[in-house]
Amino acid sequence: MHILSTPWPWYVAGPLIGLTVPLLLLLGNRHFGISANLRHICAACLPAKIPFFSYDWKKESWNLFFAGGILIGGFIAVTFLAGPAPATIAPQLETELQGYGLSYTGSLLPADLFNWPALLTIRGLILMVAGGFLVGFGTRYAGGCTSGHAIMGLSNLQWPSLVATCCFMAGGFIMANLILPFILQL
């Protein structure tokens, strides 16, 4: 159980994530890609006669079960497989965040940024509400997310997925280094 409860190194986690690709293919010719769920939820709840949401989402419902599983998996991991020691972060990052009054507490998300009262602050609104909107809008515009393009698309050697992955990274670099410092000061 000790192995299970400590944080897993990249060379264990990466191949396991990669094995999700053949696992889903062998289980039913399903192509790994999680952001599609957001489209299925729109198609199921509020299609509003929009052509993009007018399709038989029930045929794709496996993906909703998969997302439900991720949620349960998250619960199991923190409840039964929690590690004894908190994770460490890069010292430069810790110092930078301290400059914005954010102390590192060993949690996976900064508790000072991601909490319910923070939704009423400009900083919290940008991080959680605007950030979430960009994740939903951007992944569908790109036709996939980290799993659909960066893992599944690249596994199948699709060059459009490489373009998308490079743009994901470019967007992240721009935001984290050039824009986020100003947002965190708010």
């Binding site: 053949p22 062998l26 199991i76 430069q92 990052l93 599944m152």
Partner: protein
């Protein structure tokens, strides 16, 4: 040509002609995908891939961790897909495994950049959003709803966006 006839979405098989599975399956057969999701969710937490800090380290080049995870995942995926293609492997239920080529459109650039912005802000792509909620960060439900809204707005504006 109307955009409605062009499939830009590579995760959703929305065109009837390309729908692969025609066989009726009972709902409980979907539970196998839930089991796969549980497996994936545990990895996301235990590897800290869904940690806001790990994402910040990645975009600041302060840690190799995320690059190691994504890189080794892609290598494993490439080898797996290659083996499946070479051996002509079928699913556990004897159905053929198929691959569709992806075509390029400008959405992969514009959408990719916008998603990158959101990824660095929230510290989460769609999979980790679900894992964060499961891990007890209840406020991430708001982020998830916002992502669903973003998806809906994209669907609404799709014809007017450059692709």
């Amino acid at each position: 040509m109307s955009l409605q006839n062009i499939d830009t979405d590579f995760e959703v098989v929305s065109m009837p002609a390309t729908t692969t599975t025609t066989k009726k399956t009972p709902w409980w057969s979907q539970l196998q995908f839930m089991a796969a999701g549980i497996f994936f969710g545990i990895i996301l937490i235990k590897s800290e891939v869904m940690s806001w800090y790990r994402i910040q380290e990645m975009f600041r080049l302060q840690s190799f961790h995320m690059y190691g995870v994504i890189g080794s995942a892609v290598v494993t995926g490439i080898i797996s897909v290659l083996i499946i293609k070479k051996t002509g492997a079928k699913t556990l239920y004897g159905e053929p495994i198929t691959f569709q080529p992806k075509s390029f459109n400008k959405g992969q650039i514009f959408g990719g950049l916008l998603f990158g912005f959101g990824w660095a802000l929230t510290g989460a792509c769609p999979g980790p959003l679900f894992a964060q909620i499961g891990a007890g960060f209840s406020v991430v439900i708001v982020t998830l709803f916002s992502a669903i809204l973003g998806t809906w707005v994209y669907g609404k504006l799709r014809d007017r966006l450059p692709h």
